[in-house]
């Protein structure tokens, strides 16, 4: 039931939001597939909606996953340093790229490489004799976050004015229209991982009891933590590479939905995936509509919209 309802909400939002925007749309021309409305709809608004849907689903799903694995209600997709490492990759390329006009696939690849670097670091850590646990993962994430953020700031301060602007723009994060081929690649990375996460939901419920209890019930916590970390990193790394860092989605959406559907990850994960997608589509629609033609960075909208609602929800408990 929760699965169907959250899926229907996501589909409803995805269908409706491309019709909403700052510039008026002639629906007659759209229906007749005439320019420019048809082109705006198909080449700008629909791919943008799809990117927001995929990104929101990935960030919210990763947030719920990390909250279960780390047994930390405040865990977010950035808790393990993935977002910061991806940002470092992207910012390094922007800062050192020789030309003025950035070739964006290079930024995406660099951001992915940054996220991949975190996986390699944690893999090296897990091979050592020391115990690989959620706690050490969280501490490592905090250290990676701090180091990457410091280097990003350093690069930012050393870059020239043009580069500095580009870096700031990328760090603000945002949903832009991208080619369908890129969307296809993103979907290929995100959808199978989301399905894998859903299959893991019953085990995640037990992991949230603590490692000792979960191990005693037959769960290989080390393996689950490692696989979950890689899955979450791929989700966050791929989306951050394309959109830049978008805060709050991975924290707010799972928490809001936990209040509605309860703590069972068999319900919470699908609700978070579909709900996160719908939430970011709505936020992006607001971002490009309310002050049109000026666009508000979507991260600002997610924080301004979700933050106060989140606080109200906590206080009204």
């Amino acid at each position: 039931m929760v699965f169907v309802v959250s899926l229907l909400v996501a589909v409803g939002v995805a269908v409706a939001c491309p019709f909403v925007g700052g510039s008026g749309m002639d629906y007659g021309k759209l229906w007749a597939k005439e320019a420019p409305d048809w082109g705006i709809f198909v080449n700008l608004r629909v791919p943008r909606m799809l990117l927001a849907l995929l990104t929101g689903a990935a960030l919210s799903g990763a947030g719920a996953l990390f909250q279960a694995l780390l047994r930390d209600a405040l865990a977010t997709p950035s808790s393990l340093g993935v977002s910061a490492a991806a940002a470092l990759g992207a910012v390094a390329v922007i800062a050192f790229y020789p030309g003025e006009t950035m070739w964006f696939p290079l930024v995406w690849l660099a951001a992915l490489a940054g996220a991949g670097g975190v996986i390699v670091l944690v893999a090296a850590m897990s091979r050592s004799d020391r115990r690989f646990s959620a706690f050490t993962l969280l501490l490592t994430g905090i250290a990676v976050n701090g180091i990457c953020t410091a280097v990003v700031l350093l690069l930012h301060s050393l870059a020239g004015i043009t580069k500095s602007f580009q870096i700031t723009h990328w760090l603000m994060g945002g949903i832009d229209s991208i080619e369908y081929s890129v969307l296809g690649l993103l979907a290929l990375a995100i959808i199978p991982i989301c399905i894998w996460m859903l299959r893991l939901a019953r085990v995640l419920n037990v992991v949230s009891y603590g490692e000792t209890w979960a191990e005693g019930r037959g769960v290989d916590c080390r393996q689950v933590t490692w696989r979950g970390f890689v899955a979450g990193t791929v989700l966050v790394g791929t989306t951050t590479a394309v959109t830049g860092p978008i805060a709050f989605v991975g924290l707010i959406v799972p928490h809001l939905l936990r209040r509605v559907v309860g703590p069972d990850y068999r319900l919470l994960l699908p609700a978070s995936i579909f709900g996160g997608g719908a939430f970011l589509v709505v936020c992006d629609t607001i971002s490009r509509s309310v002050l049109a033609p000026v666009e508000i960075p979507v991260g600002v909208t997610t924080a301004l919209l979700g933050g106060p609602f989140f606080v109200w929800l906590l206080w009204s408990r």
């Binding site: 047994r71 859903l198 299959r199 939901a201 019953r202 085990v203 419920n205 037990v206 949230s208 009891y209 603590g210 000792t212 209890w213 191990e215 005693g216 019930r217 037959g218 769960v219 290989d220 309860g262 703590p263 069972d264 068999r266």
Partner: protein, 256 residues
């Protein structure tokens, strides 16, 4: 083949060598064994090693001939159910849901099947938990929580049960019922290892005692022999008095 075989098992914590030192013991068949000793003797660590939660520095722990290090975790937990001393008190699930975690080793499907629910109902009935089934775990008292955790271990249907101070939060009536249950489980073919500080209850209810002192197994014998007053005084630094009835029941008292 022994149900449980410990061969020269040692364990070191970083900076604390010799937490367990050369433990060798054997449990051929169903028994109720008390694992006891002073605080820090290594009792919980021994249970963790048998459960495969820790890796021995030397030696091996074999359950039905299998080493946890060389088995899939879920398969191993079909043979061994471990109930730790504590779990986080803020678990946000109902009693039924906690008990059903005992079925995880039998399948990784998203939802439990009829067989899982039947096992859960049997475990709930045995631990008299039916009135609590929809209560949230964190709303229960310490003793009630302990019964829920035991029910989850029973739901796991493992032949070897490792219980770390299961009577710690129980009142006298519930303690008596617990020991009766443990004897029943022994009679049903389980090997039950119970870490306990209740020497008097262990003396009356168990088949054997593993007495640990400073990481070493200093006694592996029936209670009447293991609980010799001189040995107990040497281990616990307090005077013990033992009375053995004609039927062989052992009563212990102690005091400074």
């Amino acid at each position: 083949m022994s149900l449980l075989k410990l061969a020269n098992v040692s364990y070191d914590f970083p900076g604390a060598p010799g937490v367990l030192d050369g433990i060798t013991a054997d449990a051929a068949g169903p028994q109720l064994i008390a694992v006891t000793g002073p605080n820090g003797a290594g009792k919980s660590t021994l249970l963790d090693l048998i459960a495969g939660l820790k890796t021995p520095a030397t030696g091996e722990c074999l359950v039905e001939g299998h080493d946890a290090r060389r088995m899939r975790r879920d398969k191993f937990c079909q043979m061994v159910a471990h109930v730790p001393q504590q779990v986080p008190a803020n678990i946000p699930y109902t009693v039924e849901e906690v008990v059903l975690t005992g079925r995880i080793p039998y399948g990784r499907g998203l939802y439990e099947n009829d067989e899982d629910h039947e096992a859960m109902e049997r475990a709930m009935a045995r631990m008299r938990l039916e009135p609590f089934r929809t209560r949230l775990f964190h709303s229960l008292s310490g003793g009630e929580r302990q019964r829920v955790l035991l029910a989850a271990a029973l739901c796991q249907q493992a032949r070897v049960l490792l219980l770390d101070e299961p009577s710690a939060h129980l009142d006298p009536a519930n303690q008596a019922q617990l020991w009766e249950l443990l004897r029943e489980l022994r009679d049903l073919g389980h090997l039950v290892l119970v870490v306990t500080h209740h020497l008097a209850l262990a003396a009356q209810n168990t088949d054997r005692v593993w007495l640990l002192h400073r990481g070493r197994l200093v006694a592996d014998a029936p209670p009447a022999q293991a609980f010799h007053p001189d040995r107990l005084e040497a281990v616990f630094n307090v005077a013990f008095h033992r009375h053995v009835t004609e039927e062989g029941r052992v009563f212990l008292t102690y005091g400074l």
